[in-house]
Symmetry: C2
Subunit: 260 residues, 2 copies
Amino acid sequence: MKKRKQPLILVTNDDGVDAKGIKRLIDAVKDFGRVIVVGPSMGRSGMSHAITFGQPLRVRKVYECPDLQIYKTNGTSVDSVKIANRYILKNEKVDLLVSGINQGSNTSASTIYSATVAAAMEGCLSGINAVAFSVANYTSDCDFEAAEEAVKQIVPKVLENGLPKHVCLNVNIPNISKDRIKGYKITRQADNYWKEELNERFDPSGRAYFWMDGEMVRVDKKRDTDEWAVQHDYVSIMPVKTNLTAFESFEELKSWKLKK
Amino acid sequence: MKKRKQPLILVTNDDGVDAKGIKRLIDAVKDFGRVIVVGPSMGRSGMSHAITFGQPLRVRKVYECPDLQIYKTNGTSVDSVKIANRYILKNEKVDLLVSGINQGSNTSASTIYSATVAAAMEGCLSGINAVAFSVANYTSDCDFEAAEEAVKQIVPKVLENGLPKHVCLNVNIPNISKDRIKGYKITRQADNYWKEELNERFDPSGRAYFWMDGEMVRVDKKRDTDEWAVQHDYVSIMPVKTNLTAFESFEELKSWKLKK
């Protein structure tokens, strides 16, 4: 009897292929199919949907065994998805793209800055079911256990049901142990924003330079958001659109009656 | 009698502050208020919503006269908006942010890759009315005349009416002379996508490198899209949301019944 074809799972991230989070993600998905990993050789956090077309790209295989191959690139997370699809897999159908596990939550406006989420959106634009995973813990003692459990719950659902067209998932896991997770919530992006501070310093020649630092300004305190869920011990599943059209503002804009 | 306060207009782009397009944008908006220009020192196309927090940022004033100041930064377009708001303007209220005029259209999926559009989205996230302008001409003989006219039509409308909350505008102008423009259309983002080719070359030591190249795959041929408008000689005004939630998929995802 012919063995049923294994799903092909593409894994990427924005913390680089040597990060702890992507290793835990690989562990969590490897029983669901054949795994190809293509990710940045260095940290690419905050790069959003950036692509590289003004500079040469490189790609190199760093690990291979029968059901797992790992490649690193000098590009961004979105570049990695493109390189995987067009060059490594030669347009072979990918059944699932997973991105992460990012250290640091990607809720609210961070959805827009995040390259972890952008990689999932890139998969979605290419017609691949895609999920980004992030855990709300920046520190080196992050244990990923609750996040791995979320991956193992969500991945088979996506492989089984697929996702709505032009929609991917942005999953955020609270920074608590697995047994304290209260459950899963389908959420919306909180309407909060980052307010930056530019931390000014001076180099040895006296010229100013700045480190960008900032904090989330939490004006959206409703209970249906991704931030509320994570802060209240739920795994947040936020469906993300790749079509950014604000349809609800059409009437207002049409009333402007712009003349030729 | 006290003179009515002039609107404060922030100008940025992704082709760099020395690009022809931003000069034409400055010319087109300078009669509407006091203008502050903060943009990248070099081309930052395709950088989307990327921000710089792992490396030092620099900013330098390169031009000043009473109603116009120009600054360049080593950051991205989104960094430029943050530097303008937090450091140069010290949180002074900006009445309008304009980004562009980009050479090359930013319709369909390019909305997501574009740093021109991302700069407008960043303004929007900070509560500033914001508009991105792009003209469908990559070449050095681009005349910008139709684009300048669109800026002069749209800017006073935005200053007068404001924009809906959490919405900015992505304006695309066809590559034709001003008198051939048929009018303005409020459009949606076409559901098309880029398909890349990785153009392989070899360096002198024999190692492969790649240039990313690609083309838009046009599967969405409907007449209400940004692409249709630009291809049919209309200026496209696409309202862009900064909240990416796919509300219409909530029911489907809730039916998964994920267990704790």
